[in-house]
Symmetry: C2
Subunit: 160 residues, 2 copies
DNA sequence: AACAAAATGTGGACAGAGTCCATTTTTTAC
DNA sequence: GTAAAAAATGGACTCTGTCCACATTTTGTT
């Protein structure tokens, strides 16, 4: 109720109920989609427009307050863990997304073998695989992929 | 006129004019989008439906004949360079995409610091930066980003 | 070469994610 | 408290990609 306010003020961003609620929602649901965050905010303050969600998340990402990741096959996801240049590990079957610490820390953490004259500022790494739940108990692939909706505990949205 | 045919036959995929044309189009335009490939095919054989494009590219990716990459902020891109697990370097300003050799070769080429019980099969790496053209001559950022359309030589689509 | 079954291609409706825009409401600065 | 600036709203719209029913082409078998 004041921490988020301070963050917005510090960055010169006008403080609104929608922004505060979004910031709280992201804090509670790392790697959530814009849509999942919108629903979370609606549950808390009643209503927020799709546009306010996108505008706010966009602004917060620009200011470096949030981080946006856009894995293949998924809408964008947002998280409050910024500044540590960590990476992600995503289940191909159910979409479960977990953080993976970067051993280097600062970005870009990898060096490209040839830079083709580019000035490289980031090395984005996504590890793809199958999560423990989607693996059979013996490590074999289960019959059908676990549907994302079957899965998430807090929301009935694709998990994480 | 026979190489692509052989590839399809080898994988048990029925040979159609659309598939042959798509395969040629991808060969000539690495990292092109489905839409750009559709236009290229239309220029060559007159017409192809959007659905045939998506179905065929999907099948070819499944069979390992093509590779699909889905960088943030871009529609999917396709390339015929498969089996070498190379990575990509993308210009944030204009979208120019170039291959970066993987020093390891086989995938997953990176080890995650903790696997959280996942069975990891791929480490996807995208280097983000600014291409030589989008950098000023002294390395300073230009005033405005170069629009993708201003850029590509062969097509008037977003480059590479 | 001709045929039937299987697989593809086609066009058009539709869906998901995100953007644009005019208008209304809220926040900020004085 | 007021006025200017910034955000929020909601609805139209765009861009990628998918679904579906039906027409056409490929295959592989006579
Ligand atoms: Mn994360
Ligand atoms: Mn490539
Ligand atoms: Zn899973
Ligand atoms: Zn560029």
């Amino acid at each position: 109720m004041f921490n988020s306010t301070a963050i917005l003020r510090k960055h010169g961003i006008p403080v609104t109920a929608q922004r505060l609620a979004l910031l709280r929602a992201v804090g509670a649901r790392p790697h959530a989609t814009a849509d999942a965050l919108a629903e979370a905010v609606r549950a808390e303050i009643g209503t927020i427009s799709k546009q306010a969600v996108y505008n706010t998340l966009g602004t917060l990402v620009e200011k470096g307050i949030l981080r946006r990741i856009q894995p293949a096959g998924s809408p964008a996801r947002y998280e409050g863990r910024v500044g540590d240049n960590h990476h992600h590990l995503i289940c191909r079957s159910c979409g479960k997304t977990v953080d993976v610490a970067c051993v280097v820390g600062e970005r870009p953490c990898l060096r490209a073998s040839e830079d083709s004259g580019f000035r490289i500022d980031e090395a984005e790494v996504i590890f793809w695989g199958t999560c423990p739940r989607c693996l059979g108990k013996d490590g074999a692939q289960q019959a059908g992929p676990v549907k994302p909706q079957d899965f998430c505990e807090q929301t009935n949205k694709p998990p994480n």
